[in-house]
Amino acid sequence: MNTRHACITGCGVVSPLGLGLDAFDEALFGGQSAVRAEELQLPGAAPTRVPLARCAFDEGQVQAPSKVPLDRGSAMALAAAAAATRQAAWEPGVTDPERVGIFWGSGMGGAASFDATCRGLYAEARRIRPTSVVTAMPNAPLAELALRYGARGSALGYACACASAAVAIGEALRALRDGRLDLAIVGGSDALLSPGVIGAWQAMRVLAPVNGPADGDGRLACRPFAADRAGFALGEGAAALVLETEAHARARGAIWNVQLSGYASNCDGMHITQPDPSGQARAMHAALRDAGLTPGDIGHVNAHGTATAAGDAAEAESLRRVFGSAPPAVTATKSAVGHLLGAGGAVEFVATLRALHRRMVPPTAHAAALDAGFEIDLVRGSARVLPRLNHALSNSFAFGGTNAVLVASRVD
């Protein structure tokens, strides 16, 4: 009989705030932002400044298990998973390969690699490489992970825009509960900071402008839940977790202090981009039921918090509907790392786990006045200690209407 929860025995992160958990932790809880203004120059358009959060990551240091040229996102996925499995003290061979699965999220897959291929073809008449497809396909990261870890149970990719990684993590929980797997390597990656992809987001008018002095050369451009919020910064990165059934984790003597307690996903089914507070609230309630918890048990929410006018208004409203007059401490990690698109749910879930582990909520990285219409308790300025923090939510709400909510708990 499997337990409802999954043990989280390892986690690894490649983020604009730093490579590795220690650097990520220090910058995140210190309230730092990795967002910077950069000039975007597209053919036929005037140069414009855009807010980006890049990782100091060299993909050339990562060996592809397939020997195929790696998309930067796939290389980040391999690096994050290497850190996670190291922390879990797990390697292939410990577990029956048919009981090991990969569950991975990515919003746009190898779009940046494909952008480079097309640029080479159209602008420079360069040949298309024979490996272009397998480098850029959306399941490239999870295929490389399955090769690296010899996973034969399943290797499944999820493309639900900004909820991709959260959905991947949650669906792995279901597979473990169902007894289909003993261990899963889960998470998400996206490295999409190529001119064509940045330009596509810029054209949508969702990137924060970075012209004013209030933007701190981009550092303060993304201001979730502020009255003057104006959009997000594009980030890149990856995060990976090792999830196990408790029986499997115990049998191999693994150590863990946080667990994945619940998950739910649903869909607004209303609009391609406009979020619906009732869909989000339904997802939060369903995730709490799945974890056997009530709103009063939740001490902290890592918000989706994109800092768009409509996105934050919908989320503030859905939080009010779920938590009423007793709002938990909310933080919005995108102010610090940017919007990691399909990887966001994984990196933000790692932030949630760190908050649980430290019983401390990292601050949202801006100090602008909050929207007076929002009844949320947003942590800003400095990290807040919560001595009785035991359970937390991580929200991911996507274009296309997919809502995904993960519930994590301390194990004491």
Partner: protein, 90 residues
């Protein structure tokens, strides 16, 4: 076949495609080097880039059976010679 061509082919196979140097002999068939068809195509792209030329597909298809390292080297040298000829004519 010039020794420099063979050296370049050997170097690339060893450093980028994990092929042991001792396997790269002139009479060795390309298909015996342990590369799958995709890697073989990537290798031919890489060696063409190294010499800044393109081998016409009707001259040499690397997937062709019994094609040897020496065959590849000769094709590279022919393309180099014809490119040099064109440059002189221009």
């Amino acid at each position: 076949m010039k020794p420099t061509t063979l050296e370049a082919v050997t170097e690339l196979l060893a450093t980028k495609f994990d092929v042991p140097r001792e396997k790269v002999q002139p009479q060795a068939e390309l298909q015996s080097l342990g590369l799958d068809s995709l890697s073989l195509m990537e290798f031919v792209f890489a060696i063409e880039d190294h010499f800044s030329l393109r081998i016409p597909e009707d001259r040499l298809d690397p997937r062709q059976a019994q094609l040897t390292v020496a065959d590849l080297c000769r094709a590279l040298e022919e393309c180099q010679a014809s490119a040099a000829g064109l440059a002189t004519a221009a």
